[in-house]
């Protein structure tokens, strides 16, 4: 198994944390992980992109060449590829009509759910991550929960866990 994942959104949406928790969970399960500094097209206007590659084997090239999964909180140009990409998006932030129909589109209303759960947008990233893990089964949910408690110590890991599980149960 090898998955190339791109996270895309605005600064402050917790994309980095999301990528890191996914990466650490994969490592916990003995997988190889690479996360390269943003590369390729310039990322400007407060937008940020982070990348993670998760693989059972050693990773030759550590930057995403042809993404398998896109997780997007802001409108982005979908990379040209022959692959069928799984695109997880927040329908309240993204105009799905502008996304290519050749790919598998998976709406996750993370921001709306986050507001309903806690009144805070900040946990939308964990809801999204829950949905991604449920669909792709890249890592076990227990691994994610363990890492949430290690990495977000002092930052309300219980709430983050709850958000993750809400997302996980969507599928």
């Amino acid at each position: 198994m090898k998955k190339e994942i791109i996270f895309f959104g605005k600064g402050g949406q917790g994309l980095g944390v999301m990528g890191k928790i996914l990466a650490l969970s994969a490592i916990l399960e003995g997988k190889e992980v690479s996360s390269s500094p943003s590369y390729g097209g310039e990322v400007t206007g407060g937008l940020s992109q982070s990348e993670v590659i998760v693989s059972d084997e050693k990773i030759d090239f550590p930057t995403v060449l042809e993404p398998d999964i896109l997780i997007i909180f802001s409108q982005m140009a979908i990379p040209k590829t022959k692959n069928k990409i799984m695109i997880f998006y927040d329908p309240d932030l993204i105009d799905a009509g502008k996304l290519s129909k050749n790919h598998e589109l998976i709406p996750v209303p993370a921001t709306k759910m986050a507001m309903e759960i806690s009144g805070e947008r900040s946990i939308a990233n964990m809801i999204m991550l829950g949905a991604v893990i449920a669909k792709t089964q890249m890592v076990k949910p227990e691994s994610i929960i363990k890492i949430i408690h290690e990495e977000l110590k002092g930052k309300n890991p219980e709430l983050n866990e709850k958000a993750f599980m809400e997302g996980f149960r969507l599928r």
């Binding site: 890191k20 990466a23 650490l24 994969a26 490592i27 916990l28 003995g30 997988k31 190889e32 992980v33 690479s34 996360s35 390269s36 500094p37 590369y39 990773i59 030759d60 090239f61 550590p62 930057t63 060449l65």
Partner: protein, 474 residues
């Protein structure tokens, strides 16, 4: 009080200070002429001496002034003992040791720069000096945090020249020391790196390369110092230079850099780049580390030449060896010899050969599909990641291509390349520069060597190399 004044004429330099500065005119010019042609001095009026001792303080040791004072001070310094006692009382130290990794064994998720820090600490480095420069900053910042924990020293120096100076000083004080910088800072360090070569001072310098020349693109990767790190310093030198390809290798090769540096008593350059430095990857940490500490044998000469081009014993300050370390040409005890051509030649030969004679041991390459390869991609460091991907893809498409990546860039594995050149048609050298290692490869063999340069501040897209291997040009 009785005073006896005498002059040891062979030490008189003819400066006349005794004659002219003595308030009582005790000294006068004598009749005798010195070999240098000045009048030797004589004690003309000894009875006028008041014992003010001005003359002996002015004189370069010729005047021997004995004044019997009521209480003779009980001062009898014993020399040649030093603080460590006589050589036989001191203990030899150094060599290989298996040490427990301070970190719990397992897998970690680290950024490249972080891996350098953890590896340095794990093999016993306790001194870091550095100056802020992108993209090496995280090493400086992380060292500031981590050195505190392990009771080591971290200094933020006033500039890179000071940083390299400090680590060389620390190295002679007995600590394993490291600094980290990027191209512009590395250029500033060249003079003292040459001193490190000359004085056989172990240290590790990390050069996190960025796209240049000059300020260039500080956050963008390049491999533009590939020749500078080897040939940048003045004088005839050998260098050991390593270039890892991954965060795991950054960790492993940092340890290797220290071990080589301590074993051969030479500065070792660890190359990285803006991409590798900020790449985060899974890193496997083992329970035990093999670390080499510089060897010290009491009483042994601290510098070369050695009979068999071996590495000389390295004392530290305070061992009582009366260490005399100098960047001037010196003999094996460190005594300066700035005009003797024989000593100069012997020393240079020693500095070269202590590394060159070990060149077989200094070959460390990653090899793929070399058995039947007609085209071999030779890549260094990060670009190896792109090249490896491309080579595997090309193989899937039936191309007979191979891959060679020297982890130790210098001494360059010339024999390896020569051996391959017997059956390989063409060598290809992709680089994040305008073609630097290309020349190094080409000068070793008579086969076709092709440069694939990309000095645009981006990591080379592996698909670009693949296209080339499939015959689509560069």
């Amino acid at each position: 009080m009785e005073r006896k004044i005498s002059i040891e004429q062979t030490l008189c330099r003819g400066c006349n200070l005794c004659v002219e500065m003595c308030p009582k005119k005790v000294f006068e010019d004598g009749e005798e002429i010195s070999p240098e042609g000045f009048k030797l001095k004589k004690v003309a009026n000894p009875t006028k001496c008041t014992g003010c001792k001005l003359c002996e303080l002015f004189c370069p040791g010729a005047i021997n002034l004995k004044i019997e004072e009521k209480e003779t001070p009980s001062y009898s310094p014993r020399l040649r003992l030093g603080r460590g006692g006589p050589p036989e009382a001191r203990l030899a130290r150094g060599g290989w040791r298996e040490t427990k990794n301070p970190l719990t064994p397992g897998k970690y998720f680290w950024q490249g720069n972080k891996a350098v820090v953890e590896a340095a600490l794990a093999c016993g480095c306790r001194f870091f000096a550095g100056y802020p420069i992108t993209p090496a900053n995280e090493i400086l910042e992380e060292m500031a945090k981590r050195m505190k924990v392990v009771d080591g020293v971290m200094v933020q120096a006033e500039d890179e020249i000071a940083a390299i100076s400090m680590i060389l000083g620390a190295s002679w004080a007995g600590l394993k020391a490291i600094t980290a910088t990027s191209g512009p800072g590395f250029a500033l360090m060249q003079e003292n790196l040459s001193l490190a070569d000359m004085t056989e001072t172990p240290c590790v310098v990390v050069d996190v390369q960025r796209a240049g020349p000059s300020t260039g693109q500080p956050t963008r990767p390049g491999a533009m110092d590939m020749r500078e790190v080897r040939y940048g310093s003045h004088g005839a030198i050998q260098r050991i230079v390593l270039y890892p390809e991954s965060v795991q290798e950054l960790y492993d090769l940092t340890i290797k850099a220290f071990n080589l540096s301590e074993r051969f008593r030479t500065p070792v350059i660890l190359l990285s780049d803006a991409y590798l430095a900020h790449l985060s990857e899974s890193v496997e940490i083992k329970e035990k580390i093999d670390a080499f500490d510089r060897i010290y044998i009491p009483g042994e000469p601290p510098f070369g030449p050695t009979p068999d081009f071996s590495t000389p014993s390295m004392p530290r300050f305070g061992d009582g060896e009366f260490l005399s370390i100098t960047g001037s040409t010196h003999d094996k005890l460190g005594a300066r010899s700035t005009a003797d051509s024989g000593i100069q030649e012997e020393l240079i030969s020693h500095l070269q050969n202590k590394i060159i004679k070990q060149k077989e041991e200094l070959v460390d390459c990653e090899e793929l599909f070399l058995n039947d390869a007609k085209i071999v991609v030779v890549a260094f460091g990060t670009v190896g990641r792109s090249a490896k991907w491309a080579v595997r893809e090309a193989r899937k498409r039936g191309k007979k291509v191979g891959f060679l990546r020297p982890r130790i860039v210098y001494p360059f594995p010339a024999d390896k390349i020569k051996e391959l050149s017997g059956k390989v048609r063409k060598f290809v050298v992709p680089e994040m520069n305008q073609g630097q290692m290309f020349y190094v490869v080409r000068e070793k063999i008579s086969r076709e060597v092709v440069s694939l340069p990309q000095p645009n501040g981006q990591i080379i897209d592996p698909r670009r190399i693949l296209k080339y291997l499939l015959g689509e040009g560069w």
